[in-house]
Amino acid sequence: MSGSSLCGVVEPADFQAAAATAAAAAAAATRANSSSDRDEWSVSECGFMDPEVQRTMRSGSAAEDITQYPLRGWQEVTGEFIAACQELIPGELAQDMMFGLFEAMSAIEIMDPKMDVGMGFDKSDLPPPSFEAAITMGVIKLDDLTPTELIGIFDALFSCIVSWLEGNSMDQVLFTCLYLHAPAKIKDKPLRVFCTAVRNLIAVIKSIILLAGVNEEEDFQLYGNSTLLSAEKAHPGNIFGYLKEVEDELVRKCKQLTSPEDLMSVVHRLRFMRHLFQVIYQVEQMETSTGTEDRMSEIYKNLNVASELLPLIRKTIDRGTQPVEGSEAPNPIGFSTRIHDRSQPPSFPRSIKIRDRPASFQFLEEMISRFKYACKVTRNKDYFSALNFFIEYSKKSGQCILSRSVLQAIFTANLRMVHGRMPMKQFLRHSVQAFNSPPVLSAKNTVSSDPKVQQQLENFFRYCISLNTFTMFIRICGFNRARQRDKLGRLIENFDAIQVDAARLDSFMNQLANERAMEGNELHATALKHSTHFSTWVLYNCFRAMLIYLMSGFELELYAVHEFLYIYWYPYEFLVGFLVSALTRTENILLAQEEYAEHLSKTQANGGSTSKNRKVAKPRKNKKLQRPYRCEIVFYHALLSLCGGMYKAMGALTKDGRVRLPMDTFDNEEVRYIRRFRPFGSLTSPPPVSYQEFKSIRDHMMLASVEDLYSVAAKHFDQARNILENIQNPDQEVLDLLQIARTNFVVMNVLARGHQKDVKRQPEFDFSKHSYFPIIKLK
């Protein structure tokens, strides 16, 4: 920034010299300082602690008139500077305490056009016009815009919104539109109302994303021109009315026109904005107010209208003014693309590619359907199904920050509505009941009112909340796919504490049952009859986190081919089996409880009043629910066979010399293995599996001949095929896995028969059908 005044005088021969002189000046300053005073510069002395300085740093130079050079007390120091440089040898660097790698990288070399943004301006260039300047220059129109002009501006603004939601800074996309700087000054009513709506939309979206808290710096830029944004007061509650009013006026106008098509296209855009705004506004309101159910149906209605309008809008894109070819501006009028260049931090990208209009409307269309999908989360009444929903949603909508945030908002609001003041705690309690129905959680249970039991349960669920493990698991599914894995790694370590507590609670219940039995209170003892309900529930969720953590490495392309062997081995040998047994155990518990209930009703029925007779029918009706996890269990069986197939296939391919292995100069398989399974290392249950254990199991497998290994792998794939084929009403995922199992079965058989025996090429692993399992392709 200070470059222009300084370099005008010095004229250094090249950048290197310039940098060296700058370094020298810094050195001189430091020396001068340290000679008079031995203390080093502290943070406070540098001024960074000063609240005023901090505020200025945070706000950027937004408050300044961006068309002017900053007005500061510049002082000529060239003489002293040159003199100070004499003391240094070329390249000698005076490094300040605060000047580290980050500073080195975000420093700019003044006058280097690659870094110094000011170099992009020719001396004769006019500064990028501000809103006021554009009015004076007469390049911006405030009144009587034609429908064509309006459509052009509206569509460009939609593109800007989309580009902003894709992670670009608000300043570099949205606020390059001068109309957004001061909508109140626009005389043309449709444009004024639309721009006011955009301004408010930005504020509401920002608030939803902040509240949901599933954003990362790469998803969403919080940095933005807050001064501009707060210049006009936000009043989102009124936007709907404004839009409706101007829309009605235009519709009336249309009726008087012989060819109202252009104007109707303007109306469609205003109407789309109205419904989109309404959806977003309602979602935000859900966070703070009650009446969620009404809002949900309101949101759904608006989403439907919005998605009906989009095809009409997409068809009429060409009715608007179009961006000039070669220009960075998304529309010929109303945009000043370089207006914020000078106020961006140096590490920011210099120019942003704004999405084109058809792609932007495509994005909006997909976003609307993602919102519709998100609304369905309210159907999931317990943790088990809610978690399933979040995992699926993330697979399909993981890349859109607003969609992810909207899901969080709806889910939280719905929890509050169903479960009241302590939503998460109540929800978890309800969820354990729904999962494996521990007798003590049943309201009918004779001991559930026992204060000791109540206290224990209260403690457990409070602990669940304070450790945040379960809540966090759901939230993690809201983050982008790359970040999820990291966060899951940490989450898995957290499960240990809660597992210990769950096991303690289970044993307490059993102990109490024994005590009551000793006391001769058979009724209480039976009512307390308890299995490993709580620990099974905790473990099941922990296993899921572990499986997602491990398999997401395939989706993120983290694993090298030579690593596939141990990665597939772990779920094959342990993890998927754990999941199956947790679910099977749960089903057995439920079954036993049901039989017991039936038995109880029968004995009561034999005792005989008519009112009790009616109860007899009840357990029979529930019979269908006896195996609530059948689908999951079958699916996990298929996964087990697929993992087994891949593990054996990798063993065979490795032994066959078809897998490229790392050079052993620095490579250490044990270190790699431990790093890959590191989050599992701190769990008590399941206990970590050492490298030696893995190695001995693998080495044992590898004793078989290559042909046998290929054949065994083929058998696993055949088993997977068999299970998958028997799934009724298969979804796309099942069909894809089926194709993978079938193809790999054939490939393994071909290799077992000695195909391409002399060509030891590494096969291709094609993950395009499924992110966890590849189709093995021989080249």
Binding site: Q16, S347, L558, T665, V671
Partner: protein, 203 residues
């Protein structure tokens, strides 16, 4: 932080054509020895005069410029971890590294930049530079070596993978141009800290 690591795609077909041409030439001339690969010598960073060469090598392969401070930050603090590949008078490759205790106290080596002149690719110069750098780090008792590489940089990824690096993390939209990167790790010593300790949030 946007570090970009080089090794751009080499054009295989051109390379093959060249080889074929040379072979034809040899066949025509009969008795001449086949032209051997240029003899490359490897030297450590010596002084400021080499900075221009270093900057030239990196700049020519990257779109985004590093400030001179960035180069100086590395080469003056760890001159013994900066190696040049040289062919006669010409600087044809460079590796720039850092070695510091990380925030959990492990001694962490970081390969910051690697570049090889386009005309000298496919001669294992990059690999040799990396091996030299890691050997120098091992001599200084390094615990692990890390770096970032662009998602699309298949050549660099293959090079590091062949040395035993694992892709530990996907860094979403890591570079200024919006592309993803991988964080690669090579564990030299078998020291394992809890995941949550070592893998805290990126700055």
């Amino acid at each position: 932080m946007n570090f970009c690591f080089t090794f751009l795609k080499s054009i295989l077909s051109i390379y093959l054509d060249k080889t074929k041409m040379i072979n034809d030439q040899i066949a025509a001339e009969g008795k001449e020895d086949p032209p051997s690969l240029p003899v490359i010598t490897y030297t450590r960073f010596a002084d400021e005069t080499e900075l221009k060469a270093l900057q030239g090598l990196i700049d020519s392969t990257l779109s985004e410029a590093y400030t001179l401070y960035t180069y100086r930050y590395f080469v003056y603090q760890w001159p013994d971890l900066c190696f040049f590949a040289r062919h006669e008078g010409r600087y044809v490759g460079v590796v720039v590294c850092e070695l510091e205790p990380n925030r959990v106290g492990l001694f962490e080596g970081y390969i910051a930049m690697l570049a090889v002149d386009r005309e000298y690719r496919k001669q294992h110069i990059g690999r040799t530079l990396v091996i030299k750098a890691i050997e120098a780090m091992v001599a200084k008792d390094v615990d692990l070596v890390v770096l970032e590489a662009e998602y699309t940089n298949k050549v660099a990824l293959a090079l590091y993978e062949s040395l035993g690096f694992i892709r530990e993390k996907r860094l979403f939209k890591h570079y200024g141009n919006g592309s993803d990167a991988f964080r690669l790790t090579l564990g030299i010593k078998n020291i394992m800290l809890p995941f949550s300790m070592e893998c805290c949030e990126d700055d």
